[in-house]
Amino acid sequence: MHDLQPITALGGLETRIDKFERIIITENDDLALASVAARKGYENDCRDKIKKILGDIPKPGQATLDNTEVGFWISPDQWMIKAPKSTHELLANNLKSFFLNTASITEQSGAWVCFDLTGSGVSEVMERLCAAPIRKMEVGEARRTTIHQLSCFVLCLKYQTHIRIFGPRASAATLHHAFMIAAKSCA
């Protein structure tokens, strides 16, 4: 067992939580991510395996959220799979064993920062951040959009009260800053 202590995307040993009257911004560090891209000629096999893991095959603009592993569509025949890091630290390796030659698997755990925005003020805050039609997004909808010039994925986990955002990890501080000023502006 190695002795290296991981830090969160915001640089802490603990995840950061910021509470406002109508919104809570939570850094979600329990994150193992891997991308799955179907190999040429194995598209159907890959989709079958995606369905086995996620329970369904996320279509463009959609995520599946029901299982331990959740996933969302990121491009044609390419998905992002997410599982709890605490139990799936080696998610990419495990997926490679599962998909074998049907897909290319790439570890993405370190590439992304994840924030959960919860509360009744979520829609109002998100309207200050991105062009996604946040008030229309149903549970399971996923959008790629830009927040403070950063390309992000926005997932609806609970209608108008829980949004999950995946953004570039190196810019976690910028993203968090954008969330904070939007939350204060809407408070």
Partner: protein
């Protein structure tokens, strides 16, 4: 006594809430619900500004955002905002405003001398004057003109407030909350559609707030309050007052500025002053109303002369009269409404002057058939002269004149995508054409329906059609439905100074001069006279100018043409466009995994794109950056150094044909690269010019990791995706960026292996892990990692990568285990010095103009395969013997510096561009060699090693002798990196 022009009852102001404010240093009182304009008028202040060119005294012309005259500097200190219309500035307690465009006081403006010189300052005067002597232009004329020109002044301080941006979505956007807008909104809202209704005013209702008509049995303003109240309680409706829709853009997007804090002393902490919204809508109803036209007559710009509809607004909405004696000058029935309303409030109507022979009469006031031909009053109107139909002239004592020349539908927004309005002869006005922005419908007065009932009907019909509704539960109230009775009348003939564009001081005479001098198209007219320019964009003046030009040219108005409008609808603060993207937040930052550690160790950071990279790590006692960099270079070459290289682009390339794909991307061969090996690769553009270099490591048969330069991470990835998707879509290859997924450190120097042995769990001896090896490994007892034996410094070196979350910990571990070897962190400066010493090309050399041949890598281009750019790299012009070749440069005298960008010249001969031999791309001081070194390109450079030349930089006055040397200053045989 204050507010002497305020009626004792009526209006929509809150009389129980008084606001104190200051205008030009003097204190006044107004009420909540006032604008600055209405409050000043209530206090008998008619003089509010000076005109742009002639500095003539000016007062209010309008009561809305089309105001050309009453432009003030609002607020003070760092919140001062020039060119704010007093007519839309909502009054608040503590408001401070200052008139602008004056030298001295508003009453005694020294630049009013310009008015005396008006014969010399006519339209286009600057095209004809200041021509002689030519030398005077730059030093005398231009500074004087620049000093006198401009509207308002800037505080030249940072704006302390913040501005937000936001995004909204709806089924139907309604622009304007007058009768048509509200009828459309309530109809649409009751159908369940997602509706946004926006109005620039703080009080919704549009003209309903300015009129005395009843809707059913309640006043227009009460009806508006009732409808707005219902709309606000509906979850599917967003009611946005104080919100100006500024532009109609592509694909149903609209820009709108919501003024959140402009009506308070200063914004609450963390709250924005304004929000710039981008509204995405399926359909739009433009219900922007109409703007009344002034009439041009001699001296029609004196304070007190305004639009008749504005007089009505001030009286009915703000309970204010411009004066106790008012005259009306009209060509239509609407002017008479103003007279009736003011008369009913006790204002003396001095006369209604109507140009029509069939004008209605009145028992309450005198109606004169004729024209106002002149006015008097230095700082405010005192008398008007009327020429009656029989030719006699009558003088009327009055302090205000209401001009009513008919109405122009507000077609501004219909033109934002090049739509052209159409002429409506009955209205004598342009109405929206058929080429509207997609999804837009126009309703109400904006569409030429000027009666209240017509506006209500138009709004409801537009909503029904836009949403394809079968029925509606909203029944329209009964309202006035008067027809238009108007005789077109633009200006009074025989006047010498009748003002058309009061903001730009353009007169009827100026238009005639423009015609006389051949500037007859509307576009030329605008530019020659400045008609329609500046903050009001000619909302009250364009039609008058056009009509006069039409008359002069003997054409109809539509034949003469019309100018169209462009966004923004009203002036918009630059801060609103910038939003939060200013100062430190101008662009996002990317922090490396070791950023926290580097901060703890005093790193000086440099922006590389969005990345913040450690540039060097100063230590106590080091007084210059060079001392730190020299130390880092020497320590690394002597023992070992570590540098965060996470910023280099990393692209995961997988698939059964990944090697074939890379073979096409790189000009050198990759098909036979063994698993566990890394190879340097050069990418060419399609045109054969070098694009980027980097390495590709083959971790498995079907899995490569490609690295790029930091700057080109995105362009290279984009290029590879283009090749994959468009050029070779049948190849089995999958790409994804992993730049941020892995924290990567270069560990370089003769002791680098010794350091890494303490943390890498596998054998990394030279035999087990030779130069250019790569492997998936584990570190520190099991953490997954990657190791590459590659070197940018020319030393024995490795790059080690771990998942980013462990990057901080790995840095600390490397420093801990490296302590016994005096490991030194180094930044980008030392990195740059070492790569120049080694002769490695980087961004400076891969500058978009150089070829593989220039870089000395011509032989890398494989002839055994086809790759992107390889064919065009063989162009004759790119392969001459006299081509530029990368070379090294060192000074003849060791203390001399070598500035990058300097050019190489032969040791004798002229220093001219024709004799240019090459140029310097990268230079630095080499602490190992004890003098400056540089890389550059020299014609036929490889054949000129040892030649002495001159290095010149005429701009910086540098001329020094240098020697051309091999670009590999250190370890040319590469023994160190293979050690």
């Amino acid at each position: 006594m204050t507010q002497t022009n305020r009626f004792s009852t009526g209006g929509q102001i809150q009389r129980d809430t008084s606001h104190q404010f200051i205008f030009d240093g003097k204190r006044y009182k107004g009420h909540a619900g006032d604008t600055l304009a209405s409050a000043l008028l209530a206090n008998r202040v008619r003089l509010m500004g000076r005109s742009f060119k002639y500095h003539r005294p000016r007062g209010l012309l309008t009561a809305g955002s089309e105001e050309p005259n009453a432009i003030v500097e609002l607020r003070a200190g760092d919140r001062q905002e020039p060119n704010t219309r007093a007519t839309t500035a909502e009054l608040y307690d503590g408001l401070v405003a200052k008139s602008q465009n004056r030298l001295g006081s508003l009453r005694f403006d020294l630049l009013a001398i310009n008015d005396r010189l008006s014969n010399f300052l006519t339209a286009g005067f600057y095209y004809k004057t200041f021509m002689w002597p030519a030398a005077f232009w730059e030093k005398i004329y231009e500074p004087i003109i620049r000093n006198a020109a401009g509207l308002g002044s800037l505080s030249l301080k940072d704006d302390p407030d913040v501005y937000d941006k936001g995004f909204l979505h709806c089924d139907l956007l309604i622009i304007g909350a007058g009768p048509s807008g509200l009828a459309a909104a309530i109809t649409a809202a009751r159908s369940g559609a997602q509706v946004i209704i926006a109005d620039e005013d703080f009080c919704m209702g549009g003209r309903l707030n300015s009129e005395t008509f009843l809707l059913e049995d309640i006043s227009g303003s009460e009806w508006a309050i009732k409808i707005v109240g219902e709309l606000k309680n509906m979850p599917n409706v967003r009611v946005m007052s104080r919100t100006t829709v500024i532009g109609a853009f592509d694909h149903g997007t609209y820009g709108a500025v919501e003024r959140i804090s402009d009506h308070v002393l200063q914004p609450e902490i963390d709250k924005p002053r304004q929000i710039l919204w981008r509204i995405y809508t399926q359909r739009t109803i433009l219900a922007g109303g109409a703007i009344e036209r002034p009439i041009a007559f001699e001296n029609n710009d004196r304070p007190g002369i305004m639009l008749a509809s504005a007089l009505r607004t001030y009286a009915n909405r703000f309970s204010v009269t411009a004066d106790k004696r008012v005259a009306i000058f009209t060509n239509n029935d609407d002017g008479h409404r103003t007279a009736v309303d003011l008369h009913n409030k006790g204002v003396k109507i001095a006369a209604v002057v109507d140009v029509r022979s069939d004008a209605p009469t009145s028992l309450d006031y005198e109606v004169l058939h004729g024209e106002i031909i002149n006015t008097k009053g230095r700082l405010g109107l005192t008398f008007a002269e009327v020429r009656l139909k029989d030719g006699s002239v009558k003088s009327i004592k009055c302090g205000a004149i209401g001009m009513s020349g008919g109405w122009n539908p507000n077609v501004h927004m219909t033109c934002h995508q090049r739509g052209r309005p159409q002429w409506n002869k009955d209205l004598a006005a342009f109405v929206p054409g058929h080429d509207l922005p997609p999804g837009m419908t126009v309703a109400g007065a904006a569409n030429g329906d000027f009666s209240t009932a017509g506006a209500l009907r138009g709004g409801q019909t537009a909503a029904i059609e836009a949403l394809n509704l079968k029925k509606t539960s909203f029944n329209l109230p009964t309202a006035e439905d008067a027809t238009i009775n108007l005789t077109p009348f633009w200006y009074v003939e025989g006047c010498s100074r009748a003002w058309l564009d009061q903001q730009n001081d353009v007169t009827v005479k100026d238009v005639k001069l423009s015609y006389q001098e051949g500037f007859r198209s509307v576009e030329h007219l605008k530019r020659y006279t400045t008609l329609g320019m500046a903050t009001d964009q000619g909302k009250t003046s364009n039609m008058g100018g056009l009509a006069i030009m039409a008359e002069l040219s003997g054409k109809s108005i539509p034949e003469t043409g019309t100018t169209i409008f462009r966004p923004p609808y009203t002036p918009t603060a630059i801060g609103a466009f910038g939003g939060r993207h200013r100062g430190q937040d101008f662009h996002p930052k990317r922090l490396t995994p070791s950023h926290q550690w580097a901060t703890e160790h005093n790193a000086v950071f440099v922006e590389v794109g969005n990345w913040l990279r450690a540039q060097w790590f100063p230590r106590d006692g080091e007084t210059t950056w060079r001392e730190s960099v020299d130390r880092e270079v020497l320590a690394t070459r002597k023992s070992v150094g570590v540098c965060d290289v996470t910023t280099l682009g990393k692209i995961d390339v997988q698939g059964t044909e990944a090697a074939d794909f890379l073979n096409k991307i790189y000009c050198n061969g990759f098909a036979k690269l063994a698993v566990g090996k890394t190879r340097y690769g050069l990418m060419l553009r399609e045109d054969g010019i070098a694009m980027d270099d980097g390495t590709a490591a083959r971790l498995f048969e079907d899995h490569f990791v490609v690295t790029t330069t930091t700057a080109n991470a995105l362009p290279v990835y984009r290029h590879m995706e283009f090749v994959r998707q468009c050029l070779f879509p049948d190849i089995d290859v999958q790409l994804i960026s992993t730049t941020e997924a892995w924290a990567q450190y270069a560990v370089a120097g003769p002791n680098s292996r010794s350091v890494l042995r303490k943390i890498v769990d596998q054998d990394i001896s030279n035999d087990a892990f030779p130069f250019m090896a790569c492997a998936n490994i584990t570190v520190c007892g099991g953490l997954r990692a990657r190791l590459f034996r590659i070197s940018f410094s020319g030393e024995l070196a490795y790059e080690i990568a771990v998942p980013t979350a462990y990057g901080d910990a790995l840095m600390r571990k490397i420093m801990q285990v490296g302590a016994e070897f005096n490991i030194t962190p180094y930044g980008t400066e030392a990195l740059g010095v070492m790569r120049i010493e080694k002769g490695h090309a980087a961004g400076n050399e891969l500058n978009g103009t150089t070829t593989a041949q220039n870089l000395g890598m011509g032989r890398m281009i494989s002839k055994k395969k086809d790759s992107i750019g390889s064919i065009l790299s063989e162009r004759e012009g790119l392969n001459t013997t006299s081509d530029l070749r990368q070379i090294g440069i060192k000074p003849i005298f060791s203390e001399a510096s070598i500035p990058a960008g300097a050019h190489l010249m032969n040791i004798t001969g002229p220093i001219t561009a024709v004799h240019d031999q090459g140029y310097i791309t990268s230079s630095c001081y080499s602490p190992n060699l004890g003098h400056a070194i540089a890389l550059g390109f020299l014609k036929n450079g490889t054949e000129r090693i040892g030649e002495h030349m001159r290095l010149v930089s005429p701009l910086t006055k540098v001329e020094t002798k240098i020697e051309i040397v091999s670009p590999h200053f250190l370890d040319p045989e590469g023994e160190r990196l293979r050690a």
